[in-house]
Symmetry: C2
Subunit: 394 residues, 2 copies
C-alpha cells in the first residue's frame, strides 16, 4: 500500500487523483488531504478516504470541518494554512505527495515534501518556473522521484523511459491553441470571461484555463520542461495541435521520435505518476484512429500570443525573469477574472512587468518567495499606470 498525500484535493488534479485511487484501493491509501475553502467537497473526501491529516484554507474553515466530521471514529488532525500544508506535505506515512495546489501557493509545501524525502507527483508548474534550479538540485540531493503530472510533461517523461541517456535532439510540446486559436487580433480585444474560460479540450482550474487561452500556460511549460528534463531553450519547440491527441514528443539523436498519445483525460498522466514505474487502469476511453480522421500541426502565432515568446525570452540568462513573468501573469489573470481588465491586457501587463521590474539576485527559497511577492505587489500597484494612456513612462 502506497501512502498518498494530496495537496489541492478539491481542485481538478486532486479530484482526479482520488478518482484513480478509488479504483485502486488495494494499491493506494490516502494519508493526507489539503484543500482551500471548499469544505463541502473536502468533508466528502474525508468521509470517503479517512486521511490522518487534513488541511484547510484558514482557522474558520478548519473549525467548520472539525465540527462536521466530529462523528467519525479515529483521530484526524485538522489544521490550516502554512502549518496545515506543511503537515500534509510531510505526513510520515506518505510515500508520494501529489502537488496540485494552484499557482505560487504550491511552492513552499512542495519543497517541504522533497525535504522530507517524499516522491512528488508535480502538477504545480510554478514550482519549477519560480525555483527550477533550486528545486531540481534539492530533488537530486534528496534522491526522490519527481513525476510530472502535466499532460505534456508526463508525455515527455513517458517518452524518455527506456531511452537511458540517449541524446535528445529536441522535445516538441504540443498545444491545443486554446479557445482563440483561430481568432484575429481584433477578436481578442472583445473576448469575454466566459469565452476565455471555455477551453475546447481540457477541463481545468480557472487560472490555467486563462493561461491556456493566452498560451502563457505553454510558456510556463517550456520553462518547466527546461528544468524537468535538463534542456536548453533551443531544444524545446511548441507545436499547435488542436486535436490534443499527441500530448508531446521527443526526438532523439537517431532522428527517431517517441510520442505519447491518448484521450484528453488527466487520469492518464495522474495514474502514471501515482503508480510509476507500473501502469494501471485509468478508466479512460480508447482512441479509434480511423474515426479520428486526422491530426493536424501548426506553427504558433507569435504576434497573437506574445506570452509564449516572452517565456522563451525569460530563459535567456540565469535571472529572475521567469519569476517576474509568472508573478505578473498571476496578477493579470486575477484582474481579468474579476473583470477589471479586458483579455488582451493580460499579455500587455506581463510584458510591461518584464520590461519595468528589475531582476534580483535570489538564492534561497525565502528570497524567491519574497521576490515573487514584491513583484506581485509592484504589478498590483502600477498596472494601471503601465497600460493606461498617459501612464508612467518607462
Amino acid at each position: 500500500m502506497k501512502g498518498i498525500s494530496i495537496l489541492g484535493s478539491t481542485g481538478s488534479i486532486g479530484i482526479q487523483a482520488l478518482d484513480i485511487i478509488r479504483i485502486h484501493r488495494d494499491r493506494f491509501r490516502v494519508v493526507a488531504l489539503a484543500a482551500g475553502s471548499n469544505i463541502d467537497l473536502l468533508e466528502k473526501q474525508v468521509r470517503e478516504f479517512r486521511p490522518a491529516i487534513v488541511s484547510c484554507a484558514d482557522a474558520g474553515a478548519a473549525r467548520e470541518l472539525r465540527a462536521r466530521v466530529s462523528d467519525l471514529p479515529g483521530q484526524t488532525w485538522i489544521g490550516q494554512s502554512t502549518e496545515g500544508l506543511e503537515r500534509a506535505a510531510t505526513a510520515e506515512e506518505a510515500a508520494l505527495v501529489v502537488g496540485g495546489l494552484p499557482g505560487s501557493t504550491g511552492l513552499l509545501p512542495t519543497f517541504a515534501a522533497v525535504e522530507s524525502g517524499k516522491d512528488v507527483a508535480l502538477a504545480t508548474k510554478e514550482v519549477l518556473v519560480m525555483a527550477g534550479e533550486l528545486f531540481m538540485n534539492r530533488v537530486a540531493e534528496r534522491g526522490i522521484r519527481l513525476l510530472p503530472v502535466d499532460s505534456e510533461q508526463s508525455a515527455i517523461f513517458q517518452c524518455l523511459q527506456g531511452n537511458g541517456d540517449s541524446e535528445i535532439n529536441r522535445i516538441m510540446l504540443t498545444a491545443s491553441g486554446g479557445p482563440f486559436r483561430d481568432a484575429s487580433i481584433q477578436d481578442l480585444q472583445r473576448v469575454t470571461r466566459e469565452q476565455a474560460l471555455n477551453h475546447p479540450r481540457w477541463k481545468m482550474g480557472p487560472k490555467v484555463t486563462i493561461d491556456s487561452a493566452t498560451l502563457m500556460n505553454k510558456g510556463l511549460e517550456v520553462i518547466e520542461a527546461k528544468w524537468l528534463f535538463g534542456l536548453t531553450a533551443s531544444q524545446i519547440e511548441v507545436v499547435i495541435h488542436p486535436e490534443s491527441i499527441v500530448h508531446s514528443m521527443v526526438e532523439f539523436q537517431d532522428g527517431s521520435i517517441i510520442a505519447q498519445l491518448g484521450a484528453t483525460d488527466m487520469r492518464i498522466p495522474i495514474s502514471y505518476a501515482l503508480a510509476f514505474p507500473q501502469r494501471i487502469a485509468s478508466g479512460t476511453s480508447p482512441i479509434d484512429f480511423p474515426q479520428l480522421g486526422s491530426l493536424t500541426f501548426h506553427e504558433p502565432d507569435a504576434e497573437k500570443f506574445p506570452l509564449l515568446k516572452a517565456a522563451f525570452d525569460s530563459l535567456k540568462d540565469r535571472s529572475t525573469m521567469p519569476i517576474i513573468l509568472n508573478a505578473a501573469d498571476e496578477v493579470a489573470v486575477d484582474l481579468f477574472l474579476s473583470e477589471k481588465i479586458p483579455f488582451h491586457r493580460i499579455p500587455r501587463i506581463v510584458l510591461e512587468a518584464m520590461d519595468r521590474v528589475d531582476p534580483a539576485q535570489v538564492e534561497t527559497l525565502e528570497e524567491i518567495q519574497s521576490f515573487h511577492e514584491s513583484v506581485v505587489e509592484r504589478v498590483m500597484k502600477d498596472w494601471r499606470l503601465w497600460i493606461e494612456p498617459g501612464g508612467q513612462p518607462r
Copy 2:
C-alpha cells in the same frame, strides 16, 4: 567494437546497414557479408569493409569474386550457398547478425545465427511467419537479443522500452496503404508491374514492394508481431496512415499510447537495432510538424485487399496456415513480377492455396522448410487450374 555479420548485404537492408556502419567505424566492425549474385556491389563492399567471411549465391559467383579481390592483403574466406550462408551467420567474431535475406531463404541461416548465440537484427519476416513459435523458443533458450528491423516492428519495440511488463491493450501497426490505396477494385485489374513496383513512401526490394501493394506485407507483419511481442491476433490492429510518419503505436492498460514517428527512412530502425540499447546518429532528416500539416488515419479496405484479412485468419489456430499463405504469396508475386499473371490474381492464388492445400503437422525446422517447399511446388503446379475458368473444382 561490435562485430557485425550481414546476411543480404547487397539488398536494401544490407546496403543501409553498411551506411550506418560507415558513419560509426569506431563502434562496429564488419566480420561477414553474405549476398547473392550482385558481385559488382559485393566486391565494392569487400574492398571497403574487409570482412573475414564472404558468401555468394553459387560457386561461379564465388570464383568470380575470389579472382576480383585477389589483390587484397590478408585472408578472406569466400564461399557460397548453404555453407557460405551458415559460415557468415555463425562467424566467430560476430556479436550481431543482420538478417536481411529476402523471403524464405533467410530461414535456415537466421536459425543458425541464433543457435550459435548471436544477437539477431531481423528484417526477414518470413522467419517468424513460417517458424514463429519454434524461433521464439530458440531465442528464449539461447538467451539472445532479437531486434526487429522492420520499421513497424522496430516502432513497437521502441515503444515497449521502459514499460516493463505493463499490460498491452493493443498495438496499432500503421500501413501506408501502398500505391493502390485509392484505386478501385476495377483499377486493380489493370495494374502494371511498374505501377506496383512504385511504392509511394518506401524504397524496398521487389517482393516486399509488391506485398505492400497487396497489403500482404502488412498481413505478414501482423503474424510477425504476434510472435515478436507475444500477442493475440485480437490485440493487433492495422491502421492505414498514408503519410507513413507514425511507424506504429502501442496502447497500454492505462489508455496511454506510445508511438514512434520519424522520416520514412530505414536507417532509423537499422541504427536502433545495431546499437541497441543505445541510440546513434543515423543521418536522417528531422520532421517539421507544422510543415507536415496533417497526419491521417483510415480503416483498411478488406474487400480491396483480402490478403490482410487472410493473414489474420491464418492465425486462427496453431496450424501451418501462415506457411501456406506465405509460400503461395512467394509464388504468386514471382508470377506477377515475371508477368505471367495480372496483379489481382495474386490474392486469388493465395486464397485458393489456403483453401486447397492441406495443413500439416510440423515441429522441426526441417519439417517447416520441407512443408514450405511442398506448398511452393503445389502452387507452381496448380495455380493455373485454380484461377482459370473450367479449372479444378475444390
